[in-house]
Structures are given as structure tokens and as C-alpha cells.
């Protein structure tokens, strides 16, 4: 299924590294955006205490060094065929390392880790909420990287002194990888991109620079921070892994999917359905409001002017299906939930609210916990399977409603990607409850494709964003087909179920 190899030695392709939560992958893309090869390696998840999730940054770097040559080998290509390398990464995961040895001072604290609760609570108590909201775009939350950096500075021996002396550097995963790729100790380029920087709680969303006030509030020494750069520019040239290849693009994974889905016009929305789900809406030059529980963030900066995005994050979607499979043993594979759900015509009045670690957007209820409501002796496994799938659809609807309320301009279609788009019943239900068409692009690798796009743009492999639209092809479209009265009844039932999940933890 590969493109003709007649000109293999001269074939020009773009490499993308997708540094994700569970694995690191390298994908190669042709000029038309077709994936030519992929190689993948999982890394270990460290759970030192409840609520703590860590990664070994050194292990992740070793995996990068393995998957890139493996992808080249699978495609039958050499490093000379690679015109540029782009990176998409798990966001908000925080690492500090010694600039002289290259060794991380501690394991990276990942985005799922909630240990910074007390730090965030203190910021709020000190009345700094409005300062953060007005500068970084969103009030203090454990979700972001800044409080994790503060935790490391406070708890890792030598971290603060090293940072103040200029010996210790901070980065999110793309910073770490770019620094290693460009030569590490003595030579490595220490940069981040605007999208990852916008997830630190340390950057001024308007100026796209580190905010001295926010740094001071979290007691972060500025000299340990990477330089903030655009998403598409040559940061440096690889000294390792792909010697001579420019590292020319980086994006947080969800912003990468926004670019990969070519959501370049204000109002366009994408939703990536994975473990959780992330909706991002292009808001153009306008910084969206956070009143609806949505997070204003940088969408991408290609060239001079930043394009902003409004994000709605849903914590549990695909992981609810995994729980249904692994913890309840109701199904053998994730795909079989559709088979089970199709054994019944509807949910039988049953609803599952998966507030496993609280609810994210638009509720932000840390003390909510999961509930199953509407149980009667009529309910079968099939109804539960329906309720599990419907939970993903209704959570999507809540975020879309919040986006519509924020701008007053309704979303008219949704571009979906990610593994759950294989579930036809779910995608149809999403279209039904949103009452807008849902589309899936050909090729489900929107995140990696976005990273490849920005890197290719930086080196002139593609002339501009608009050309990339021609690479987007509709693979499927689900049209809404639900009776309006049924939709409204179900929406009310879902809202009542959500209300019952609130304030369970005391």
C-alpha cells in the first residue's frame, strides 16, 4: 500500500514524532499527506503514589532514537529522504534536566498527575486567580505545567539552586526532545513552541512571552525557561538520530490535530477521540473567554499572527470503554461494545456519567465521581453498553453547547478523528445529539500529520496552509437523524444524571 518507489532515492518525505502519553511513534508522510510508515514503542508508566503519574524522560528519548530509524527502514528510505522533522507531544508533562550532563533531575510529572493541588489552592487563596485568568487565559489548575515545575523546584534536591545558577533547564516534552536532537549538552537548542508554552500557566496569551508576574507568583527562575518560538520554523539541525535534518516544527498534540484536520478558518472545530476527548475550535485572532469552562489557548503560530483556539477537554471517553472491557469484563475488545450495544434498541433509561477523576469541561467539578443511574431489573448489558457510548456523545454535546454560548455563533459541523471514530454507532449518536454532521478524514493520524505539516511548511516543502486543505479528504460523514423531541428528552436526562455525580467526594 505504498506509493510507487521508482524514485526512492529522491523521494522527499516529512517525519513526525508523536510523543504520546503511552508511547512514542515516528510516522513518515508523503507530500499528499499519506502515511508511508510508522514505528512505535511504549514507555513505562510510573505510579509512585495515588494521583501521581510519572515518565522517565531518558527512556522516552531512547525510544525516539529507536523508532525513527525503524520507520525509515520500513519505508525503505534513508535520512537524506527526510526534508524536515516535526514533533507533536503530550502536553503539560514537565521535566527538568542538567544542561551540562543532559540527565533529568527527576522523572517527568505527567499531565494526569494531580499532586499540585495544594500549590494551585494556595495561588487561589492568595487571590491570584484573576491574574492568571487575565494573563494566561485560565485560572490556576492542576492541569497545567507551571505548578508541576514549582513542585519540582520545591522537592527535588538541587533543583532550585541549579535553576538559579543556570545549570538546570525546564521543558515540556517537545523542549526536551528538541534539545536532545540538536546535540544535548553544550550544543542543544533550548526552545519551546507557543502552543506548548500556552499550557504552562506561565505565558502571557497576548504577547506570547513568559509573564514576569506569573513567574514571580510561582517562584520560577526565568533563566531555566526555553525560548518561545513559532510552530513552523527551523529550531536547529539534528545532531543525533537524523543527522543534518532540520527540526522544523513542534505543536502540542491537540493543536497538532487542529492543524492536521486543516481547521484553518475561524469557527472550524475538531474533536480527537482517544482515552479522553479534546475539542478545539479555531477562534482566529480572537482570544476566547473561559467563562463557559473552556480554555483559551494558542491554536498555532505559522508566520506572524497567532491563531487562537478554544479548547474543551473531556477526561474520560475511550477509557470508559476500556473500563467496561477490562474492569467489568463485559466485552472482549473495545470494538465489541458496538456489537453489544446493538443487541438493544435504546439505553432503556440508563445513564453512565464517567466522572472517574471529577468532571472536566465545562463543569470542572473535581469532587464529582462516576454514577450509573436509571437502573431497573429491565436493564441488560446491552443497555449499559449503549449508556457507555452515549456518555461520550453527551459530553461532546456539553462542550459544543459551551462553545456556542461563548461565541454566539453555532458550530455547524464537527471534524472527528482518533480511534473511537471506528465506532459507527457512536459517531451516528454524536451527530444525532449535536444535530450537526460529523465527518471523519481519510487516515486517522491527524496529530502526527499536523506535526509533519508545520515542519514541512517551515522548509518550504508545502507553500502554505491553504494547499494543505487539498490533502484533507472526507472518509465518512454521519448526518443527524434523531427526532428533536427525543434529543431534548435525552439531553434533560443526561443533565439530571450529571447533577447526581456532583459533590460525591467530601
Amino acid at each position: 500500500m505504498s506509493e510507487p518507489r521508482t524514485s526512492a532515492p529522491r523521494e522527499r518525505v516529512v517525519a513526525a514524532i508523536d510523543q504520546g502519553t503511552t508511547s512514542t511513534r515516528c510516522l513518515l508522510f508523503s507530500r499528499s499527506g499519506r502515511m508511508l510508515a510508522v514505528a512505535q514503542r511504549e514507555h513505562r508508566q510510573h505510579y509512585p503514589e495515588p494521583g501521581r503519574v510519572e515518565h522517565d524522560a531518558e527512556e522516552i528519548w531512547r525510544n525516539v532514537a529507536r523508532v525513527v530509524p525503524e520507520a525509515l527502514r520500513r519505508a525503505g528510505l534513508e535520512p537524506e529522504n527526510i526534508v524536515a522533522l516535526g514533533i507533536a507531544n503530550q502536553r503539560e508533562t514537565t521535566v527538568i534536566w542538567n544542561r551540562h550532563t543532559g540527565a533529568p533531575l527527576a522523572r517527568a510529572i505527567t499531565w494526569q498527575d494531580t499532586r499540585t493541588g495544594p500549590i494551585v489552592a494556595r495561588l487561589v487563596e492568595e487571590g491570584l486567580g484573576p491574574l492568571y485568568a487575565s494573563t494566561s487565559g485560565f485560572g490556576p489548575a492542576t492541569y497545567f505545567a507551571g505548578p508541576r515545575l514549582r513542585w519540582l523546584l520545591d522537592h527535588v534536591p538541587g533543583a532550585r539552586a541549579g535553576a538559579e545558577a543556570g545549570d538546570v533547564l525546564f521543558g515540556t516534552m517537545e523542549s526536551w526532545l528538541i534539545w536532545r536532537l540538536t546535540g544535548g549538552p553544550g550544543r542543544g537548542v533550548h526552545v519551546t513552541d507557543v502552543t506548548n508554552a500556552s499550557r504552562t500557566m506561565l505565558m502571557d496569551l497576548r504577547t506570547l512571552e513568559w509573564s514576569p508576574k506569573l513567574l514571580e507568583a510561582l517562584r520560577v527562575p526565568e533563566r531555566m525557561l526555553p525560548e518561545i518560538r513559532s510552530n513552523a520554523e527551523v529550531y536547529g539541525v539534528c545532531a543525533e538520530v537524523l543527522p543534518g535534518v532540520p527540526v522544523a516544527g513542534a505543536l502540542g498534540d491537540q493543536q497538532a490535530a487542529l492543524v492536521g484536520q486543516t481547521c484553518f478558518a475561524p469557527g472550524e472545530v475538531k474533536c480527537t477521540y482517544g482515552t479522553g476527548a479534546f475539542l478545539l475550535k479555531n477562534t482566529g485572532a480572537r482570544i476566547g473567554g473561559s467563562a463557559q469552562g473552556l480554555i483559551p489557548t494558542v491554536g498555532y503560530l505559522v508566520g506572524e499572527r497567532p491563531v487562537y483556539a478554544l479548547e474543551g477537554s473531556i477526561a474520560v471517553t475511550g477509557s470508559l470503554v476500556q473500563w467496561f472491557r477490562d474492569s467489568l469484563g463485559m466485552i472482549g475488545t473495545a470494538a465489541q461494545i458496538e456489537t453489544l450495544a446493538l443487541t438493544v434498541p435504546d439505553n432503556g433509561g440508563c445513564y453512565v456519567v464517567p466522572a472517574f477523576s471529577g468532571l472536566y469541561a465545562p463543569h470542572w467539578q473535581a469532587n464529582a465521581r462516576g454514577v450509573i443511574v436509571g437502573l431497573t431489573s429491565y436493564i441488560t448489558r446491552g443497555h449499559l453498553a449503549r449508556a457507555v457510548l452515549e456518555a461520550t456523545a453527551w459530553q461532546t454535546r456539553e462542550v459544543v453547547d459551551a462553545m456556542n454560548a461563548e461565541s454566539g455563533i453555532p458550530v455547524t459541523r464537527l471534524k472527528a478523528d482518533g480511534g473511537m471514530t471506528a465506532d459507527h454507532l457512536l459517531m451516528q449518536y454524536v451527530a444525532d445529539v449535536l444535530d450537526v454532521p460529523v465527518e471523519r478524514p481519510l487516515g486517522s493520524e491527524a496529530v502526527s500529520l499536523g506535526a509533519a505539516y508545520v515542519a514541512g511548511l517551515a522548509v518550504g516543502h508545502w507553500p502554505g496552509l491553504e494547499v494543505l486543505r487539498g490533502n484533507w479528504h472526507r472518509a465518512a460523514m454521519w448526518e443527524p437523524a434523531m427526532d428533536a423531541a427525543v434529543r431534548e428528552r435525552e439531553r434533560e436526562n443526561w443533565a439530571r444524571a450529571v447533577a447526581r455525580s456532583y459533590d460525591w467526594v467530601r
Binding site: 500500500m1 506509493e3 499519506r34 502515511m35 472482549g332 475488545t333 473495545a334 470494538a335 465489541q336 461494545i337 458496538e338 456489537t339 471506528a422 465506532d423 459507527h424 481519510l442 487516515g443 486517522s444 479528504h473 472526507r474 472518509a475 465518512a476 460523514m477 454521519w478 448526518e479
Partner: protein, 253 residues
């Protein structure tokens, strides 16, 4: 009449041993019970494991009856099929410029498990979970030709004439199926919808059993060359995708 196949007899003996033991067994125990060299028994039990008929505990390496034994009557779950085939189906649509379908037998019809739009921006309607006649579509004829147990015989089908090209007699349909078996690919030259052609290859799980048909659809003149044969580059990509997906169906679920 040829005699019994020894390896099949031995495999049956292994299954009986594991089923009757009431506890997981080690390779040495199996070899001792069958009075066979360990490498011989290892080859047999490993093949049974790959087929899902024997399970092996990861930690202890002991063998026990496999979960696949309880599912002997079940085919592949249609949604597992879609999940496994999806990436290759997308790549096939991207490479050929054709719409892609995945079909399984459903009584006297072919049920479409998956549909990828033709990537040309034209308005199209999703046909996932709809049914099409076995005798008039490439994927339907592919299932008739290659999955004879899972589909009814040609003489039991109602051979409705959809277009002037539909195989509307048993003899005509049998000729189509014979050609498909020879070619390894079934075709439809506008036999269900006038002007819309199709080509389909079987997707085979472990042991070569056909579980589904993978097809491409495009205007007849685009899909077929002068001699009425599918154009070579399209046929090659279809065959290659079929092989890749089949390889994913060999491993146990």
C-alpha cells in the same frame, strides 16, 4: 481412501488431555502422556495456541484449553473486523481514489460493515450497516465464491435483475463465480447500479477461512480496462490491502 492424518490425531489428543486434566499442564507432562519428543509436542501445542484453541499462561508457561474452543461456532465479530481493517481501508481509498467497502454474509444478502467514501469531495451517503444482494455486487459474489458454507448456494438465491448486466440466471452466476475463483477476485461491471463497478477480494482468517470481502467501487470505465478486467494498478493495490488485512486476522482476538 487415505488414512488418518497423524498430526490431527495428536492435536485432538492434546485437546482431550488438557480438557480432562482439571489443571494446567506443562509441556513435559504433555510429551510424557503422548509418549512423543518434546519438540514435536511443542510444535503441535504452539499451533493450537496460535489458533486460540489452547491458552498458555504467561507467567508459568503452562497450557490449558483455549477460550477459542467456546467460540468455535462464532465468526469474527463484525466490529472487530472493521477496527482491524480500518487503517488499510483508508490507505486503499487514498491509493486508488475509489470508495472502499467491507462486507460480510448475512443470509441471502451481503451486509456492509464498513464504508470509506471515494476521496474526491463528491457528496456521498454512508452505507455502513446496509445490505446489498449477493449475486449483483462484487463483494457479494466474492463471498459466494470464497465463503460457500457461510452463503447460500446460487440456486437458492432470488436472482433479481437490477441492470441489464446482472447475472440473473444460475448458469450465468455460476460462470461469474468460477471466473472469480480463477482470478482470486470478484467483479461487478455495473450489475447492481448502472455505471458503478466494483472489485472485491476475500479476507481470510487463520487456516484460510474467508470471513469477509474487501471491495473497491468506482465508475465502470475507471475501474475496468479494455478487456473487461480490473485495471492492474487498482487490482494490485486491492490484493495487497487484502493480504495486509488478512495478516491482521490470523492473530487471535
Amino acid at each position: 481412501m487415505p488414512g488418518a492424518i497423524q498430526s490431527v490425531e495428536r492435536a485432538a489428543a492434546i485437546l482431550r488431555l488438557l480438557g480432562g486434566a482439571g489443571r494446567p499442564l506443562a509441556l513435559a507432562e504433555l510429551a510424557a502422556a503422548l509418549d512423543l519428543p518434546r519438540p514435536t509436542v511443542h510444535g503441535l501445542v504452539r499451533t493450537l495456541r496460535d489458533e486460540g484453541l489452547v491458552d498458555q499462561d504467561r507467567a508459568t508457561a503452562l497450557y490449558r484449553p483455549g477460550s477459542g474452543l467456546r467460540r468455535l461456532g462464532d465468526g469474527w465479530d463484525r466490529h472487530d473486523l472493521r477496527a482491524r481493517a480500518m487503517n488499510w481501508a483508508d490507505a486503499l481509498a487514498g491509493g486508488t481514489g475509489c470508495a472502499v467497502y467491507l462486507a460480510v454474509p448475512a443470509g441471502t444478502m451481503a451486509s456492509l460493515v464498513h464504508h470509506v467514501f471515494r476521496p474526491d469531495g463528491s457528496p456521498q451517503t454512508l452505507r455502513t450497516n446496509t445490505e446489498q444482494p449477493l449475486h449483483a455486487t462484487a463483494w457479494g459474489k466474492c463471498l459466494l465464491a470464497f465463503a460457500p458454507v457461510a452463503t447460500p448456494p446460487a440456486r437458492e438465491l432470488e436472482l433479481r435483475r437490477y441492470t441489464g448486466r446482472t447475472a440473473s440466471t444460475v448458469a450465468m452466476l455460476e460462470a461469474h463465480l468460477a471466473a472469480a475463483r480463477t482470478r482470486g477476485m470478484a467483479t461487478d461491471v455495473g450489475e447492481f447500479e448502472a455505471g458503478v463497478g466494483g472489485a472485491a477480494v476475500p479476507l481470510r482468517s487463520g487456516g484460510g477461512l474467508t470471513v469477509a470481502a474487501l471491495g473497491i467501487a468506482a465508475p465502470v470505465e475507471e475501474l475496468f480496462g479494455g478487456g473487461g478486467e480490473p485495471r492492474r494498478p487498482l487490482a494490485d493495490q486491492l490484493q495487497a490491502a487484502g493480504r495486509e488485512i488478512s495478516a491482521l486476522l490470523v492473530t487471535p482476538r
